[in-house]
Symmetry: C2
Subunit: 385 residues, 2 copies
């Protein structure tokens, strides 16, 4: 089974039994985390970062692992999340394959990987596990919780289920629930994986691995993470090579792999090559079962349903000192009206709720790449705390 | 091999050899067509309709086949394309599996289906075949050519390659070339098919058929044919059933089929069920190789490249009496700026070029379903001819 733990990720045990919201319990479960920056003597400068579906806890470089983290442009000394002031704690999601317990982890009852015997995973479980992890680490009250994409959902679940845990909140490109288009995208991503014969009801191994399904799932993800406009500029109609591969009738047997242009209906346009190369990097670096569980948890998430009312009521019940909600106008997966909904809910209960609708062309992924637009407002928000 | 010819489709032979633009020739090729409405004595009321990727020539009901056609709401007596006045000719695209010669057709050299030995298919070939077909049927000059989606590309190719053939033109939700997002979508659709082990380099049969690949390709198509807003209204977060299927660990072996909710990671939301049901209807009703050939031809199409200059120059060289270009603001596949580009090109050479940007929520498919918005302008345009 595939687990991919960054070298300096540390672990914190979850209390056992850890009860899952949709049934089932975990024993001996743990959460992977990393910290950047020092906790101050008052212990009041801790900022928790909750991640999207695929990132590890390695959010930024630090002495124990100087490799760039997944939000390196935003987190570090002098950066928008300034680790000269803030003590950043990033936790890997429960169910992931990057340090936290998930489907590829050994089931203590059998010693074998859970695979599909892992209990149903919900965003609420991810939030509860994150809350339990930071408490076990000794953080009583956080200065801020920051979550983007799925991490924004986890953050909203954490805030409503553990309202005493944080004073402030930054929510980026996220939502109180998934809309049908996003559900359809993720459903099709999962279908690509679970209909790959090599997925084999989750019993794949390194020799027989659902590469094709993971490739398609990742490509579909990439297509929805960015915007069409950005791709027009980046790729246009540029071809991979001036000539096509061999004629289909004389082509050798079609093999999967890095040379699709030589196969019938292989890549001819630069945009296809880009997707292929990036997706190839992903397929063996994320556990397919973890992907399925995490992906489904996003579809299930419904803050209103979860809190026994409407999402607006759940958000209105919070009493944050300050909150900042950011969305991107070109985001296909979490459209801007979903961030407006968060703002409206929070504003009913918290005094100081800011909202930014950024014009980035980079769609849902903008928070990862468009530091020029995301850096200043996040920096300002944290500076003024 | 799968050919799906509506019962009243007639056939017209293409001149042999029919030379394909990217190499290869066809012998004994034919084009499927249907007509609705009577040709007048002057022979000047013929309207040619070119189709999107998947439709047959059965555009509307007529005495020989009273079943509703694919554009039934728009074509018929008293309808926007009024067959009391117009003699409508709809041709099935070369390369399709619905009456015209394509990959599932027998190769006269061997008697076996062409499959991947069918020559490379381009939109220009589809246009040339349509032009040859209408000429062979005796139409010297058409009153109008109407094309939507891929049919709009075929129409632009026909107009520039056979400028004497029509006096007027209606172009709907189309483009002078495909942009990278659309290429990526279609590339992933093709990948779903050609990586399905049952595709088997195009050598599938009814017993071993790439159902899974076709299902995923169709679902992905449906996701891009409509708009997220429309799905919010139609589906929201409605569940298929209040309860999940059996637990994964006790689930029977996962079988493809109409009951995905009982399988691990099967459909739970109404939007997933909708996609599944509609895609299931498609998989065995369109030939996978035809799909691959037609899909790729859209990616390849580049009107400027085809005409040895820019698309604008090619369109500016046309001298149409009248043209109408329609786009939809929520179209993800053929965004509105692509219809503006057609208008700008045509306006440089033709006197009377109208442009409509419709606010339909139904995305690329609006021309098929949003008759309230599409009917009046098409009706008015044709009425005034």
């Amino acid at each position: 089974m595939a687990e991919f733990v960054p070298p300096a990720t540390r672990f914190v045990d979850l209390p056992a039994p850890f009860r899952m919201r949709r049934g089932g319990v975990l024993h001996g479960a743990r959460i992977g985390y990393e910290t950047v920056g020092e906790l101050n003597p008052a212990g009041d400068n801790a900022v928790l970062i909750l991640t999207g579906l695929s990132p590890s806890a390695h959010v930024a470089a630090h002495p124990d692992n100087p490799a760039p983290g997944w939000w390196e442009a935003m987190v570090g000394p002098g950066k928008p999340v300034d680790t000269n002031r803030w003590h950043v704690v990033c936790v890997n999601s429960l169910g992931s394959c990057m340090g936290s317990t998930g489907p590829p982890s050994p089931d203590p009852a059998t010693g074998e990987p859970y695979r599909l015997r892992f209990p149903d995973l919900s965003v609420e479980d991810i939030a509860d596990a994150a809350a339990a992890a930071v408490r076990a680490l000794g953080y009583e009250r956080l200065a801020c919780v920051i979550g983007a994409s799925m991490g924004g959902m986890s953050a909203l679940a954490l805030l409503t289920r553990h309202p005493e845990l944080t004073r402030n909140h930054v929510n980026i490109s996220s939502a109180v629930h998934s809309l049908p288009f996003s559900i359809a995208v993720r459903s099709l991503q999962r279908e690509a994986i679970h209909t790959d014969p090599r997925w084999d009801l989750g019993r794949y191994d390194e020799e027989s691995y659902p590469d094709r399904g993971m490739l398609m799932a990742r490509k579909l993800g990439m297509m929805t993470y960015r915007s069409a406009d950005e791709w027009d500029t980046r790729f246009g109609r540029t071809r991979v090579a001036p000539e096509r591969g061999p004629e289909p009738s004389s082509a050798p047997g079609f093999e999967p792999g890095p040379e699709p242009a030589t196969a019938p209906f292989g890549a001819e346009f630069e945009v296809e090559r880009y997707l292929e190369c990036h997706a190839q990097r992903f397929t063996r670096r994320f556990d397919p079962n973890s992907y399925l569980y995490l992906s489904r948890s996003m579809d299930w998430f419904d803050l209103g349903e979860s809190c026994g009312g409407t999402a607006e009521e759940a958000l209105a019940a919070l009493r944050l000192d300050k909150a900042l909600v950011i969305g991107v106008q070109t985001d296909l997966l979490f459209p801007l009206r979903q961030q407006r909904q968060i703002v409206e809910g929070l504003s009913a209960g918290s005094a100081d709720v800011g909202f930014l609708a950024l014009e980035s062309p980079q769609g849902h992924d903008a928070f990862l790449v468009d530091t020029a637009r995301f850096g200043p407002p996040v920096s300002k928000f944290l500076f003024e705390l």
